[in-house]
Symmetry: C2
Subunit: 505 residues, 2 copies
């Protein structure tokens, strides 16, 4: 493909992008293909010689798009959003063009420097404590996902814990190594029973135990300080060593926000034993911190060690752009730095530059700060705020709709940000499940469900840049119709009036 062919293909691709977004409202939001649909439609191997772009483009339309679940659809109200946007796509084009596995500063200085700057911008935009800025001992780094951020935090926490203990005990050489092995086998990571599964998975990867800390429905599923204190004490009594805790702003299931005020006190009262690394997981809800009315959430985070939010959820930046901040970057580099001969250079040796490879699991990295920069500049602070405010508004609208039909729905946990969690009439798990499954089977909207302290709940959350009020109202209409049918024992009556899959464009 030469430059002219690329120009022609790229222009065609741009039209595809525009048409795709403009047709989102008409497409079945969840693909209805069956498992294994694709392979029989593809050749058994790559072609011997070059195929024209038009052939690929045709297959995108006929084979790929029908197999997509449309996360950008205004009818996508499942999980949490995963925004893409025009400015972000433009950023991705430049990033791909400038491809460099920029593992250290010299490997592409702009890649490192822009990342440091835009992460500082994000730190201030979100109202995070100053300790997370790069000008002091902290700083931000783009991770692929909130899960990776947790693994990095956990490995840094583990190494800090072991180092501090062995230093305090004055151990060196073989005695130190033996003590480290002994301690390592006792380490336990903590997270509430509502924390994302990535905390448990992170503990598994880091090779430590995991202990869940209970929450209660009466606390709206928020993690309380007293429970943290109790579980730490219990662990210690069993000879275990708690070294890490995930606290959450906006849990995955119900968007609960943990009691940071209480938890920061519990951590604080450990005095010299500040041995537990506290990580704030705000993967989804962290985006709301662009609004001043949510910034109060951050006031106790000085007491914590790291923070992470995904711009690729609710902040208009396509996957992946997880913004991870630490209070002391030395804890990352102490844990993750390895410096072989082929990576040495005068800039790294000088200590004047940041080599982000030591802040993450992989060696190489993409130029992801470009898309964040493009998004921040194209929307401006006010544009980002308007986006979040719109969806918070949709969340409130949906709450009021639910409240208008108390004969059908019961709100289970406090609505938060853009999420509502509810059951169909009287908390009957079977009925709620039936409503949920019928709604999704029809496919005009896509919701997810979860089980919270034994209660089966339906979750509705908007976030797509393409959502408008009419889609929120229509979603509620569908829920009402299905709930009424289920509760009256009627057969499914929605079948005929729903949009069918659009197979190509």
């Amino acid at each position: 493909m030469d430059a002219n062919q690329f120009r022609e293909a790229a222009h065609a691709a741009v039209e595809d992008v525009i048409k795709y977004y403009e047709s989102l409202g008409e497409r079945r939001v969840v693909s209805d293909v069956s498992p294994g649909y694709l392979r029989p439609q593809l050749p058994s191997g790559p072609p011997q010689t070059s195929e024209p772009f038009t052939a690929i483009q045709r297959d995108i339309a006929n084979l790929i798009i029908p197999g997509l679940t449309h996360w950008q659809s205004p009818n996508f109200m499942a999980y949490y959003p995963a925004n893409a946007s025009f400015p972000s796509i433009l950023g991705e084009i430049y990033s791909a063009t400038f491809t460099a596995p920029a593992f250290n500063w010299l490997a592409s200085p702009a890649c490192t420097e822009l990342e440091t700057v835009v992460l500082d911008w994000m730190c201030e935009l979100l109202g995070l404590p100053e300790c997370f800025l790069s000008k002091g001992e902290g700083g931000g780094v783009i991770q692929g996902t909130a899960s990776e951020a947790i693994v990095v935090a956990m490995v840094a926490a583990r190494e800090r814990y072991l180092r501090n203990k062995c230093d305090a005990e004055g151990l060196e050489g073989e005695a130190r190594e033996a003590r480290m092995s002994e301690l390592k086998s006792k380490l336990v990571a903590l997270g509430s029973d509502q924390a994302h599964s990535s905390t448990q998975k992170g503990a598994l990867i880091a090779g430590t135990k995991f202990q869940s800390v209970p929450t209660k429905m009466e606390d709206n599923c928020a993690l309380r300080g007293e429970e943290v204190r109790r579980v730490i004490k219990e662990c210690k009594e069993k000879g275990l060593e708690p070294y890490y805790l995930t606290v959450t702003m906006g849990t995955t299931g119900t968007c609960a926000t943990d009691r940071f005020d209480e938890i920061s006190k519990v951590v604080g009262e450990r005095g010299e034993e500040k041995d537990i690394w506290v990580h704030v997981d705000a993967a989804y809800a962290g985006a709301a911190l662009v609004l001043d009315e949510y910034k109060h959430f951050t006031k106790d985070w000085n007491a914590f060690d790291s923070f992470d939010m995904n711009m690729h959820k609710w902040l208009l930046t396509n996957f992946d752009a997880s913004c991870f901040f630490v209070k002391r970057r030395a804890n990352l580099t102490h844990a993750l730095s390895i410096n072989p001969a082929y990576l040495r250079n005068t800039f790294t040796d000088s200590g004047l530059v940041t080599d982000y490879r030591d802040w993450q699991i992989p060696l190489g990295r993409r130029f992801r700060s470009l898309k964040i920069w493009f998004v921040l500049r194209s929307y401006g602070i006010e544009g980002l705020q308007a986006h979040i405010r719109k969806h918070v508004g949709f969340g409130k609208l949906f709450t009021s709709l639910l409240q208008s039909r108390k004969d059908l729905f019961s709100i289970t946990t406090e609505p938060a940000f853009s999420l509502n969690c509810f059951t169909a009439l009287l908390d009957t798990n079977e009925v709620t499940k039936e409503v949920y499954e019928r709604v999704n089977q029809h496919g005009e909207i896509f919701l997810t469900s979860t089980v919270v302290h034994g209660v089966y709940v339906i979750r509705v959350v908007t976030g797509s840049p393409w959502t408008e009020e009419k889609y929120v109202r229509r979603a509620f209409e569908i829920l009402v119709q299905v709930a009424e049918e289920v509760l009256s024992g009627k057969e499914d009556g929605l079948g005929t009036d729903l949009t069918k899959t659009v197979l190509s464009h």
Copy 2:
């Protein structure tokens, strides 16, 4: 930014891409900015309101491009290549547009299904053993980097080792847990002293020890079976439990290829104790397997557990596209599967679909198979082969040039694929270092150096799609001129005739 503004911006971006690639030969390959160059040129935070794309585009030209190290430049002969290509950029556009954190099949079926198909295509294209195809018990998955692939392999290896040992000992409940903790503290991962640092880093992340296995210059730095046998025995005698080994096709320093025939026998002779997971790291050189003349390398890989190569190094696909294959996918899912309520769905529960989240560290994932698919189809098998063959040819040309000036240069390890490693006259580390540093200071070409068994060597490797023979010959010319100057004690005479940085376009 609305659709019309996006169209206009995207067309402008496409022109930027084309101009950037067409100007590569004229740009200083390594940026000459000083640490901290960027921040003073940027505002202290994001703008309050939207900025037009033209402002961003201007800053790309004036602020970002001058700070890039141009990995696509025909004068980039450092590290290993990191290819981008037009078809790959197009794939990235669709991937960003369809953004979905496709953690399970239902979250976007096409994303999972295309990945399974193209990884099978890759398996056959590279001539890997059938056991790595998805139709049996194996399969491929795209990881971000070869480092991530190693962490995944290592965690799977660790869990398999612990599970098998405890099963064999018939342990359950608390006794099993205690034994696991005990065993875990003794686990040791192995890799040759030439294996990439990611093996050591992986062991660190997985919380196990790492033991380096020596290679020798007389074996061309390849890992030998007898050394593996000896180190395993020594570890066992010290009470350690070797559970994992990285073997390499194309080591980072000198592109050595380990003796797979010998190592597979050592692993095989352990009989019932097939307890060591062997991972083939072919991050760079794996691309060469598209040529039939290299496929003999794979003949013993049936004996190994996993394989990884980066399409984003030498196979025309922009970062990130690391193709990771395992013989038994159950080893990944056993180690990494966690199934919370909010991720459950009938498809996952049916077991009929692949949920790649259980094959990797993160939960979410991008639609990276698109760009691999675009590249395979746009180039065709013959196009990919021609690309690799061209650079192998450049490697051979460079070898013959080195051989033509035995008065100046000495080849240290066998040239392999597109890499040549050499010293300046008589293995004098200081002289070689001086030559290396002078060449890079001038900046027309960019090389890297490394230290192999105490010898300081210069590495020259081509791989950019934009490299032509004249650049290879010119690189040699520069080396000759600098080496002659250094050896005759002359001052730097290259200063004036080298291309200076082009700051904008």
